[in-house]
């Protein structure tokens, strides 16, 4: 079974449609980013990695009410808190975020402690000074058990109680998702004497803290700088490698293509109001690599065909090359897309932004090799012939100047078996 057996589509002829399509999405993205910049000062929604601030992810034992949580927190004086549902609805998870103003470097975790205090509410004092079992560490549990010794282990109790504390915490976190609703749930895990003892010293709140991220302003700025540097170095590396392996115009075409891909992907994030975090930047760098790969495959075929079909003009050669590689391009795109789609649908909320960037990036990256990179090559050559200069894109040369021809020397990439 084979798709695209002997396709002969005139891709270059459709370049104006492609341009319109790209322009449409680019402009839409730019408009969204511009609007966002004007109203909030940031062109794209930035994650806590770059903006700084405090994020607390909380899981409830019942369906949470974000509005109620928000008013609890506001009552303690945290003005700029945002509370929103997080993840799938069955998970009862809530994300509480504080802006950078509430996250001073003098006491980095002050916002976090304030939020947790607000969530505990009257909690601890209402329960007679007991501690919250749902947010206790295994160390706290072990120390309590050691002090009260419900199993009457005497001297060598330390190791036993540390293990018991750890098993309670493991059960709570790995089996129950972080929140226990009642001490009865511990029945299978620990001795009833232990449970009875815990009841005297601990109560169960209705929430458990799943994840905390606090980024101070200094680090946020550093990470922003690093992300930009990484992207620039990546692009520079690409340009140099391609200029060495092909002609410099191929390098330029590839870089412009990648720019187009990045612009549309970032614009999509702005349009969809999705945050850009560190992992999203990693995804964007990866899709730059992927788009580049795709472009290289087409370029390799173009280079090969230029050697074989010396008499034809570049536009025809390029069309033929795209058609010849079409099968591979669609297949690889399809298969890679399948894998990142699996990631997007089944990979969990933490990777959602990352996989979204890849899903968009793979589609756009494949499209751009055909629709952007190839036409740039041809357009450049036509521009040069139009100006009366020798076309630079053929035949392939390895020398430095534009007028050196390799002649009949064997191509340096001799096939290796």
């Amino acid at each position: 079974m084979e798709f695209f057996k002997n396709s002969n589509i005139d891709f270059l002829g459709k370049k104006w449609y492609f341009l319109a399509f790209s322009l449409f999405f680019s402009v839409a993205g730019l408009v969204s980013m511009g609007h966002r910049w004007a109203s909030t000062g940031e062109p794209v929604p930035l994650g806590v990695d770059f903006r700084g601030g405090t994020l607390v992810y909380v899981k409830y034992s019942h369906t949470p009410d974000p509005a109620a949580v928000h008013s609890e927190i506001e009552r303690l004086g945290l003005k700029n808190a945002r509370v929103q549902r997080y993840g799938e609805s069955g998970n009862n998870e809530v994300l509480i975020s504080l802006d950078i103003q509430e996250t001073s470097e003098q006491a980095l975790d002050k916002g976090k402690t304030q939020i947790i205090d607000a969530l505990e509410g009257a909690g601890s004092s209402a329960h007679g000074g007991k501690q919250d079992l749902n947010n206790a560490s295994s160390l706290t549990l072990a120390r309590y058990l050691l002090e009260h010794d419900p199993l009457h282990l005497g001297v060598d109790a330390n190791a036993r109680y540390t293990a018991i504390g750890q098993s309670i915490v493991d059960y709570r976190d790995k089996t129950k998702g972080g929140v226990l609703s009642s001490l009865d749930e511990l029945r299978g895990t620990v001795d009833p004497a232990v449970t009875a003892s815990l009841q005297d010293g601990f109560y169960l709140s209705d929430f458990g803290v799943r994840n905390v991220e606090i980024v101070g302003p200094q680090v946020g700025q550093q990470l922003r700088k690093q992300a930009i540097l990484a992207t620039l170095y990546s692009l520079a590396g690409m340009l140099i490698y391609l200029a060495l392996r092909f002609e410099w115009i191929y390098g330029v075409a590839a870089v412009l293509t990648v720019f187009h891909d990045t612009l549309i992907t970032v614009g999509a994030f702005s349009l969809l109001d999705r945050e850009i975090s560190l992992t999203v930047i990693a995804a964007i760098l990866t899709l730059i690599g992927y788009s580049n790969n795709d472009t290289i495959v087409v370029f390799d075929r173009i280079r090969e065909n230029i050697k074989l079909l010396r008499r034809e003009n570049l536009a025809d050669i390029v069309n033929k090359s795209i058609n010849q590689t079409l099968s591979r391009t669609i297949l690889t795109a399809g298969l890679t897309f399948l894998t990142v789609l699996a990631l997007f649908l089944f990979g969990g909320e933490v990777l959602r932004g990352f996989s979204l960037a890849l899903v968009i990036g793979i589609l756009i990256g494949t499209y751009s090799s055909i629709a952007i990179a190839a036409p740039i090559l041809v357009a450049y050559q036509e521009w040069r012939t139009g100006r009366g200069q020798r076309p630079i894109a053929m035949p392939v040369r390895t020398g430095v100047g534009p007028n050196q021809v390799k002649g009949s020397a064997q191509p340096k990439e001799k096939v290796k078996a």
């Binding site: 690409m238 992992t279 495959v297 699996a342």
Partner: protein, 539 residues
Amino acid sequence: MNKNLAWKLVVIVAILLLFVGGILGIPKDWSGAGLLASMKSQIHLGLDLRGGTHLILQVQVNDAVNVDSDNAMARLKEDMRTRKIGYADITKPDVANRPDLIVVKGIPPDKRGDFQSIVSDRLPEYETTSGAENSWTVSMKPQNLADLKNRAVAQAIETIRNRIDLLGVSEPVIQEHGLGQYQILVQLPGVDDPARVKDIMQSTAMLEIKQSLGGPYPSEQAALQDKGGVLPPDAMLLSGRNPRAAQGDEGEAWYLISRASAITGRDLRGAEPGRSADTNQPRVNFVLTGEGGRKFYNFTSQHVGDSLAVVLDNKVMEVATIREPIKDQGEISGGFTEESAKDLALTLRSGALPAGIKYLEERTVGPSLGADSIRDGVRAAIIGMVAVLFFMLFYYHWAGVNADVALLLNLVILLGFMGFFGAVLTLPGIAGVILTVGMGVDSNVLIFERIREELRNGKTPSSAVEQGFGHAWITIVDTHVTTIVSAAILFIFGTGPVKGFATTLVFGLAANLFTAVFVSRVIFDWVLSRKQRGEALSI
């Protein structure tokens, strides 16, 4: 089949076994649970999969510089007194931004040479320049200043490492972070409540014993009034507990304490929690080093009848009168609980932090989230992989089996690499594995499409296979090199989880170069060797 082919197959099987070894290590028992446990010890999980705390701290290097320049100032004053060089004023004008800067005013012009020789002989790390109206600036030489700051960071790393070791956190990561910002990265797996750890790490535990010149006073103003409204230049005001306050009362008192220290934390050899013999309250007993003991003996001999203050982090812990010279032991008591005495002894034992630390970033992943992440990531990986495996079979028929074998071998080699290098698997790393599957299969597609093309052009199966591999090889190298370069940049600039992603990507692509070209070729050759003349290739 011919001998060449047989050898190649042996090599492939050997490599397979080698990398399986990398994944599993040497298991203690061969049951399912034993293998799983063995795998867990080989492949390290990142914080985002295991649960734990990630901290970035900044060492306040100016603190360390201040300590040094305070001592320099004290030595300068002492020497100027012995050489009878009068001066009007000696201060540190800008403690916050230029902690190494000391300004001396009013040196008589005929004592210039003497002053300069004091600095060059007794303060070799400092240099001095003259200013207007007989004033001199003494500042640290730039190289020495940079060295001091870097040493402070290195010492802070050591101290923090000691403290965390004493706490018993398993496999912590403590290392310098970033470039030139005096930052330290601390990763504590399994610590889901960082509050206590942070307190222990942060406490500078700067223990000093200084002479107490006056007090306790009820307030700062009262202390100043007693000295005629002006603070003597060699003394400072510190607060502490009021010893006459009733038990449990938080009353604060102020003391006049000399700036110079009799002994500092460097002179400590050990510290243990204990209980006061008379009041049975928790306290901390400490022991001095040989050199420290000698210094202390000299100091106490000269100051019998005077008051000594034990100062911890610039707060006065207790004041006592020196009744007789003390050799090398002492104790600190005052408001300790059993746990705070234990913690203080721990911090004193691990050495004092040379400077304060400030927290810049804190991330805590609860183990529940870590477990969920592993489950989701592995599930997505399996679904993605099964989809690809099936498709290859469906589209390329028996050649699909070839691609599938290469893919699975790819996975084994990738995980084996990670086991061998002790690389850390993070959640984006699992995504990287999934991505490697997708991008890796690209190599096979390239080769197979080329083979199909050659077959279409009328070549024989074996010739088509050779041409396919030959032409596709260049493209495969090009695409892999560019992506590996991308991943390398990600590794350099990325933080924990992103580094994990870059690692799996690089290992996966490297493995792919091997399987797509060598292993696939060997399998094709083996299939071809068993075919009859003129039989078609299933692809």
